[in-house]
Symmetry: C2
Subunit: 325 residues, 2 copies
């Protein structure tokens, strides 16, 4: 059994060494607030997202995945702005302080933080029902951020990576550790849920190419509709074009499309770009080793239409709402 | 009975109009992240603090006070850095979305936000056990921030306002609404707990005067010891000098001193300054209408000593620790 730790021990042993080192951190963990230097000509980009036990993850979910995902979901928000991440604040509410849990949580966080040069510059520890709130700051050259509201009629609609894997992986993850060695397909789908890849470099590269961008967290149908609405356009998604992975098609042949449209937690980028930019977008994705798929187009009007085999198909899902009636 | 609200309704009706308006907010609530402009020659200052039901407040605590305090405790952190607050992100986890609770919470937050020109630029809503995490960003002229570690032997030690009122008020607040009209003293003490005054202007004015500063959140004895330790000094606090309000002395004559030393949640500033600055500090406090009291001095060595009637008195309290064994 691991023993409980004091607050000061948690900070010194786990949190202080957690993030990457950055020269623009003038004062990090240990004072009343952090002091940070933003380069001239850059705008600050701020986001926050929380993982709550019983809502975003089940009791007993692997701590390493939670540490990773707490950062990944916020990185995905910055990716959708075309921003470069820099500084994080972690607010951790937990019922007890167990070394094993903390070391796993921190291992998951630290690997991703170093990959993207994110420094942990502050935070807060409280006892209480488990929840993890991360605030992430980044920067973008002034005026260059990708927004939701810049798409125009005639633009094409794209999505990165593949969709629906995370939702299928979430179901597998909820079953707990596998009793026998998982198949490669099962392992792939679980990995896509537990360790999603925020498209940070792709988002930055799309600045200047894409006209609008959003990250797919609640499901493509909901998030694409948000982009289209913010841009005062109508949009069409061709369902045959949805990027579905082999493991998803094979494991969930009946449900692959609905998971891709509405499963959520993909943390892919959905973006629009003028048709004239298509070759640049393909070349950019190839250079970064990222998959990008054209899934539809925008036009004048309002609303998102789904089409299959050239014919309209009714939208099937409602937006996820934490407080739905 | 008020009816539950959808997430989108909460955002539109309550959160979007919540903060102050600021010209440096290029993009606020409604995209994947906020876009903000930091002036040249300024450093960014970031902090976060959480209020957790059952830990920082009791079930049924007045929502207006919670909205106010969530911002106030973070403003106090920025005050201790000498920073000017600017942008907030609110992460609200709550079991249900009740209009009455939300409108009270927002009223408490909004009044203080407008007073200090804080814009709410983003956030996150989740269903779960009630907790409120606020991240606050501010700015300070580069190199001018007040830190904990700048005090030197020979400096004098000060505290703003009065101490112990909040701890006494917390006990009164825990008793719930008064059955009969509260006395002026009771009302004063409750107010000091439920609506503390972060010393934002004082903190900024102390930049260039004070050598080190910390906000008193866990109690003077603990927080002064932190400042002294960070500055590699020893320190003495003269207990006769502690600023105790009339209501505290009258309501809690036996416990006033211990509440002032260890009650916590005062959100006053404890700071050090060279003796040559004493007149400037008095004049600054007077100009701002703030009370500032010299309570001791720093010297070479290590550790905090309490003295009463010229004789050493043992320290009586341990640091508050969320995860103490």
């Amino acid at each position: 059994m691991s023993s409980p730790l004091s607050e000061a021990e948690i900070i010194e042993r786990y949190l202080r060494p957690l993030g990457g080192a950055r020269a623009d951190v003038k004062l990090g963990i240990g004072d009343d607030a952090a002091l940070l230097e933003l380069a001239a000509g850059e705008e600050l980009v701020l986001t926050t997202d929380a993982l709550v036990e019983g809502v975003h993850f089940l009791p007993g979910a692997p701590a390493r995945s939670l540490g990773y995902r707490a950062l990944a979901v916020n990185l995905s928000d910055l990716a959708a702005m075309g921003a470069q991440p820099s500084w994080a604040l972690l607010s951790l509410i937990m019922p007890t302080a167990q070394e094993l849990w903390l070391s796993e949580f921190c291992a998951g966080f630290a690997g991703l933080a170093r990959l993207h040069s994110v420094a942990l510059v502050g935070g807060n520890l409280s006892r209480g029902p488990l929840s993890i709130t991360l605030q992430l700051a980044g920067h973008v050259p002034s005026g260059q951020a990708l927004r939701r509201d810049g798409a125009r009629p005639g633009d094409e609609l794209y999505v990165s990576g593949s969709l629906g894997d995370a939702a299928a992986g979430r179901e597998l993850s909820a079953q707990g550790p596998a009793l026998e060695p998982p198949s490669a397909e099962t392992a792939y789908l679980r990995e896509r849920f537990e360790y999603p890849s925020p498209r940070v470099e792709l988002g930055q590269a799309l600045s200047g190419l894409a006209s609008a961008c959003i990250d797919v967290s609640d499901g493509l149908e909901v998030d694409a509709a948000r982009l289209i609405e913010a841009s005062h356009c109508a949009g069409v998604i061709e369902l045959e074009q949805l990027p579905l992975s082999g493991p998803l098609r094979h494991r969930c042949p009946e449900r692959a499309e609905s998971l891709a449209l509405a499963g959520g937690e993909d943390y892919e980028l959905c973006f629009a770009a003028p048709a004239a930019r298509a070759a640049d977008i393909v070349a950019t994705a190839r250079r970064l080793g990222e998959r990008v798929t054209r899934i539809g187009a925008l036009r004048g009007g309002a609303g998102l239409e789904l089409r299959a085999a050239g014919a309209p198909r009714a939208a099937t899902v409602a937006s996820f709402d934490h407080f739905a009636r």
